[in-house]
Amino acid sequence: MTAVLELRDIKVWFGGVKAVDGVSLALEPGHLHALVGPNGSGKTTVVNTMSRLVTPTAGQVFLDGQDVTAAGPHEVYRRGLARTFQGIRLVEGLTVRENVLLGVQELPAARSRAGRRRAAEAADEALERMDVHHLAQVAPAALPYGVQRRVEIARAVAGAPKILLLDEPVAGMSAGERQEISAVLGRLRDDGMTMLLIEHDLRFVLGLSDHLFVLNFGQLLAAGDPAATAALPAVQEAFLGRKHVPA
Amino acid sequence: MRHRARTATCLLAASVAILTAACGSSGSSGGSAAGDVLKITYIADTSGPGAFYGKDYVAGAKYAVDQVNAEGGVGGRKLDLEVVDSASDQQAAVGAMTKAVKSNSSAVLYALLSQNALAMAPIAQRSKVPFIVGQSGVDGITEAGDYVYRTTTSEGRFYEAMLSTLHDKGASSTAILYASDNPTAVTNATKTIPAIAKKLGMTITETVPVKTADTDYSQPASRIADSSPDVVADLTFGPAVTTSIQALREAGFDGPLYGTSALGAGALKPAGAAAKDTYYPSVFIPSPKLPWASGTSFLSEYQKATGSAPSFSAAGGHDQVMFLVAALQEIGKGDVTHESVKDALASVAGKGFVGATGEPVRFVDRAAVTPGVLVRWDGEAETVAPDQPSPLLAAYTGRG
């Protein structure tokens, strides 16, 4: 079974700063992977490298077995890699539905008239799956944070991606909202979606993920079964040891 | 839905605006010529950078109209001068021009900027409306056609006599500093002066272009001073006049300067004593020593009527009107149409008319030819140069 997404010895250096320093990992189809690490460990850079917003200093990125290291972010999106950002990034001036339409309208399939209609249907379906269809005509800025996140996820999954990268989807959320999002992620996993969840809170991902990657100082510290990996002393130290150090 | 509502409101707003504009303008441009009044539209740059001269042109034109009306008008008809501000802006000038050619004006007069005049002249010619331009140093202006006249002598024509005078005083070499973004200065610097210098046997030591907006003249001035010319042509405008003269003096050049009529009193005053011994040609200056009688009598009468001395711009505005008046007088009680005015202007141009800038003001190819006067700045005021070739324009007496 080939990995949906694979990083091979990725290095990302900003000037003298080694944000990511030799990370290799593979994401298996249908799994919910979690990438955890303390603040500043390079998690977002890893995601940005996967979604091609950052070009690695060295190493390769494979999507569905194809080398996409030189591809642009729009190209990997069109090939089935969708992502969300750490902060909510909905477009002001567009309604909820229009925001979700953005997730499908640039796909190659939406070029024909029939394709556009199918894409719109897919968007409406995604709205329903995320339970925000009743808000379709609302301006997103007026909605609660958790709902806005669901709209974003609807936008990301509307185009039926092969893989979904979620960059700290519950950051800054209340317990109730976290519950809500975690239920959404569980449903997506049940539907067979391959996902990578970036999170700095180890506990949040433990019950949710199938596979855990731990990142520290730009390097992969450990990987494997979530519970076992989290129990490793090195992982405990990385999280507890840095807990009191302000990032 | 909301887009449609917005668009509709937009269109509504736009159409209201257009209707308002339509109503606003119908009063001024509609209707035909009133029987006992001859309307003249005077477009002038009375605001913006050209305002200093533009306002004086208007003052001169108004004075002329008042004089004519005080004497009973032309053929029993009073003159009605409508002044439109073109704001030293080409768009405003062209807009005012298209409006004026559709109005009941017998002719359109304009001062001051060449750029604007160039764009306006073809409109006049296409609409077959007589168009009389004051100032405008560009020769091409009257090429637009037989409806277009210019009442200010191209200053380049004065240069030969000016340079001869300087040559007679012992100058055998000259350097040229000029504004390379001004068409008149470019022509004079690269064609007129070199040709004259060659004829007189003068050498040109340096030709240095500057831009009107430049602020550093020390470097061009150094170049000129280093070439040690006997005299220097300073063909710059605005504050650059002061700056360049001071820079030339600072760079060590102490000889006489000469240049364009743009040097004028306003531009030289800030330079003060540094500009002492600067020569330039003018079609008119407010001096009782002016070598033609109509000029000095204009000076005294204008001063009597308005309380201030007329500038060369006022004289120019006056002569634009007087040229038209001479044509209207020829028509007399006849029908004043654009065509009859054009024909009368051609006839007057053939004979010449008496104006403040010449007695008479003659025409060559619909452009005025006037005697001119060589002016010398003595450090405080402009004076008629003591060694005055009279007339300054040698060709003036020769032409008929």
Partner: protein, 297 residues
Amino acid sequence: MTQQLVNAIALGSIYTLFSLGLTLSWGILNVLNLAHGAIFTAGTMFAFLLTEHAAGLPFAVVLAAALVGSALLAVLMEAVAFAPIRARSGNALDAEMRTLIASVAVASIIVTVVGIQSDHQPYALPQSLLERHRYDVLGVHVSNVQILVLVAAIVLSALLVLFVRRSRYGRAMRAVAFDRTAAGMVGISARTLQLAAMALSGALAGVAGVLLAVYLGAADAHMGDSFLLKAFAIIILAGVGSLEGAVFFAYALALVETLVGYYLGGDVRDALAFVLIVVILVLRPQGLAARQGWQRA
């Protein structure tokens, strides 16, 4: 050749004073302030009016008055136009554009008023304000005005750099220039900071204007325009917000312009600054002197 060097230094000093003010407003307020040239001109007009109405004042007083007048004018512009527009703009692009246009509109107002005041003619500060002397040093002409301009540029830029480096306000300004969210960190309200930056910027423009009017011998309503574009070139070479860079590149540009003008002619010199803008932006968008990576901060 040495003479060209002297000329270039004087020109560079004026460039310096002008650019420093502009780089402050761009770096701190993110305003491409096209009214900077107009404020510069207004400075000359303040000085001119003062000498007209109160002849015999010492030069230092006239200079100080122009400084204060220009600073107030800049603050007024910030308070009446820029700040309300920023507060009401939807996003950064909108705010940048709208303040840019507002600065043009304000410039139009200032230039028109100065034009009316001066009757659209060049005007000059009285010769008695600062007697010009020319010294011949080893065959090179140096005037006292050139020396004054140089000294003023050095002293004022040194003071400004010190202020920005050492004072609480200055550090806050720097923090904002490097990271726009950092204003609150130093405990100074963003509002105060913005007004202070505009006041400084205006004051520098006013001083530069008066010195230039003295140096050139005359001024007119439109004199600021050509400096504006040169200053933009300098700021871009230096990197937005970099004071030391602005000083360095002000002199560098003046020197290169003077030499190019002398040897290759005016057209090439005019094109030089603009070619530099394009080339530098394309090769190094953050400017030549800017510290690496500050835009990532």
